[in-house]
């Protein structure tokens, strides 16, 4: 779970992190990381999912950077990418087309995220 960029809204990332841990998942909380650091951590820790918490409105920019980096490293299909934060519902479709598995906007219940991961990760 990382916060790309410099925006400091931290509640969402912490709440989701705790929920995933409580559901028995192993979680690495990266805090602020740039895209290079996120990808490095993902490789080094051999994670299944990269989660990005974005409240700055810059979700397209950071998603593009992440996807470009993964492509560059030949890791495009290695990780499930999930996004959460203040992201307009109108943008979900485009983000999915860019390769994001799912997007969680305001008002999401953490159980929805846990269910999605449990139902989709093995597939």
């Amino acid at each position: 779970m990382s916060k790309p960029g410099i925006d400091g809204h931290w509640r969402g990332g912490i709440v989701v992190s705790r929920a995933l841990r409580d559901a028995g998942m192993e979680l690495i909380f990266g805090g602020f990381q740039n895209i290079d650091q996120i990808v490095e951590t993902a490789i080094h820790e051999d994670v299944d999912i990269i989660g990005m918490s974005i409240h700055s409105g810059a979700h397209f920019a950071y998603t593009k950077k992440l996807m470009d980096k993964l492509k560059e490293k030949g890791l495009k299909d290695e990780f499930m990418v999930l996004l959460g934060g203040v992201i307009p519902a109108k943008d979900f479709k485009k983000l999915r087309e860019m390769g994001v598995a799912n997007v969680y906007g305001p008002g999401t219940m953490t159980s929805q995220i846990v269910d999605f991961i449990q139902n989709n990760l093995e597939k």
């Binding site: 925006d7 400091g8 931290w10 805090g31 602020f32 740039n34 008002g107």
Partner: protein, 559 residues
């Protein structure tokens, strides 16, 4: 008189017992009746619940203990300042929005800055480039301040600059230098700097800021230079912003506990510098939330005024009555808004604005209904402004002072909150001054616990959010999404390039060297930061000096 009241009380008590017995089995819904902060509530409040002496505890507005209001006539004298927190894209676009709102009756400005301005990062720095102007207005150098205030009479209307201790000196010195260059005497300038240590530490987490003890010093440097040193004496050099951490999920009692504990740490610091409390305390201001619990919020404002008056009088021995006046801005609760069926947010905001005005705020921001999704569109911002204007001009609630006083429930709740805040402050004081509460991680644990408590309440349906956990509807795709200018980064990089060509880089380098020496010592940073921004220093250049001398702080976050 007293004897008479006692006899009345006994009679009421007897009758109340009879009534309780008679309706013992009357139906009540199966739920816990309590306030948002967990104060258990009785079925009914009566004169028996209002304890203590009226003159001592409630009194009259404009005099201690100020429970009924900071000023004797309150809104009969002047309506609260309608101050919408506003900023996006570039300073030019923000200026357009400000003028639009001004034309429609706004009476104060408030600059919402972007994440780079909060964290002292230039747009030329890769770290934050993608976020230029996305969550507020970029204020990186003096040229941005000229653009922001173009054609705005800053000698007649007050401006709030929402920057925190890490960047309050550079951004506000740019503002003061801009005003001087325009020919204004900054001794007459009116405005506010948020300068709140907790906003960019626990409200938001800081990106490459300096350790809390240095943030506290920077906050106090700014207060000292503007007010007791007399450089900008009409300015409010700090606004203790309970709002921002309340948004994270702490309750009304904690909100007041945080702001008062923080205020005491700043006052102690300034007293340590040799100032007297009456030299500066009357310019300190507060910024509180108006959240979901209608009566609890009103009682909170009333309790806050009484606590502050007691704190200043009893603990700090303030002599000037103005030092005991608690004055505050309110923002309606952004975290209560939903992205699901967002038009309902207009109703939520109206009710919260009513709390603030019935509670006697000095200035008010009302949220736009689209703020759970994006920065406010022009139409949404205008509706938010109109919400305040309906209350001020159509409802007549402003025609008498503190109309909620005398409600058995409100007076009881005011007492209850006051008592709980004193207890919470005592707990905080055991941890130490506010910078210690940060560096030891104590405040992060309080915040974390609040995050999880709120989330659990939402998921269990104990706290209701219509559209989300009751009568749920899909996340709205219909609402228009206001997009910030995606050229902002290019525009701001260009602006800084031009500035760097124009300025005397050698001279500036010497000034920044001087700043290094000042930072190493215990001298006030403001005079040299004023000099630096006048010569065209950018926010990143100044904050890099802070980082170089004091180091970067990693907050002890708790999950």
């Amino acid at each position: 008189m007293k004897k008479c009241k006692k006899m009345d009380d006994e009679k009421i008590k007897r009758e109340k017992e009879k009534w309780e017995k008679k309706f013992e089995d009357a139906r009540e819904r199966d739920m816990k009746f309590q306030t948002d902060s967990g104060i258990p509530l009785k079925r009914l409040y009566t004169p028996l619940d209002v304890k203590g002496d009226y003159l001592e505890k409630i009194g009259f507005p404009g005099q201690p203990p100020y429970t009924r209001g900071a000023y004797p006539t309150m809104y009969r004298g002047r309506i609260w300042t309608m101050r919408l927190f506003s900023g996006h894209g570039t300073p030019e676009e923000t200026n357009e929005r400000w003028k639009f709102l001004y034309k429609h009756g706004e009476t104060g400005f408030s600059a919402a800055v972007d994440a780079l301005t909060f964290n002292g990062i230039d747009p030329t720095n890769e770290d934050g480039a993608a976020e230029v102007g996305t969550s507020g207005v970029p204020l990186y150098c003096i040229d941005n301040l000229f653009a922001l205030t173009k054609d705005i009479p800053i000698d007649k209307i007050s401006v709030a600059l929402i920057v925190e201790p890490f960047t309050s000196a550079p951004v506000c010195s740019m503002y003061f230098n801009m005003a001087k260059k325009k020919g204004y005497d900054i001794k007459n300038l009116m405005g506010t700097t948020q300068n709140d240590i907790l906003t960019m530490t626990v409200g938001f987490i800081p990106y490459k800021n300096v350790p809390p003890n240095h943030l506290l010093r920077l906050a106090c440097d700014f207060i000292e230079w503007t007010v007791p040193m007399g450089n900008v004496p009409k300015w409010h050099p700090i606004n203790f912003t309970g709002y921002n951490y309340r948004e994270g999920g702490i309750d009304a009692v904690q909100e007041l506990g945080f702001v008062f504990a923080s205020a005491c740490s700043h006052i102690d610091n300034l007293i340590g510098r040799g100032w007297k409390v009456d030299d500066f305390v009357n310019r300190l201001a507060f910024h509180l939330s108006a959240h979901k619990d209608f009566f609890e919020e009103i009682a909170k404002y009333r309790a806050a005024r009484r606590i502050w008056a007691k704190l200043m009088k009893d603990r700090y021995n303030a002599q000037d009555p103005r030092s005991m006046q608690f004055r505050f801005h309110v923002q309606t609760a952004g975290s209560s808004l939903t992205a699901q069926f967002p038009k309902v947010n207009i109703i939520r905001t109206s009710i919260q604005a009513l709390e603030a005005t019935l509670g006697g705020c000095q200035s008010l921001h009302t949220n736009s209904y689209d703020e759970a999704i994006c920065l406010p569109s022009e139409e949404a911002a205008l509706i938010a402004l109109r919400t305040q204007q309906v209350i001020a001009d159509e409802t007549r609630i402003a025609n008498t002072v503190d109309p909620m006083a005398g409600s058995y429930y409100v007076e009881w709740l005011t007492d209850e909150i006051e008592e709980r805040v004193w207890d919470y402050m005592e707990k905080m004081e055991k941890v130490g001054s506010i910078d210690k509460a940060l560096s030891t991680g104590w405040l992060y644990k309080e915040m974390r616990d609040a995050f999880h408590k709120r989330q659990k309440r939402m998921e269990r349906g104990e706290e209701i959010s219509l559209g989300v956990n009751k009568y749920p509807v899909p996340y709205d795709e219909v609402t228009d999404v206001f997009r910030t200018n995606d050229e902002a980064m290019k525009i701001e990089i260009e602006r800084i390039k031009n500035l760097k060509k124009r300025r005397d880089n050698k001279k500036l380098e010497n000034i920044l060297d001087k700043l290094r020496r000042v930072c190493e010592k215990e001298e006030n940073v403001m005079p040299v930061v004023m000099e630096a921004t006048k010569e065209g220093a950018t926010i990143g250049e100044i904050c890099d000096v802070y980082r170089e001398i004091w180091g970067i702080w990693e907050p002890p976050l708790a999950i």
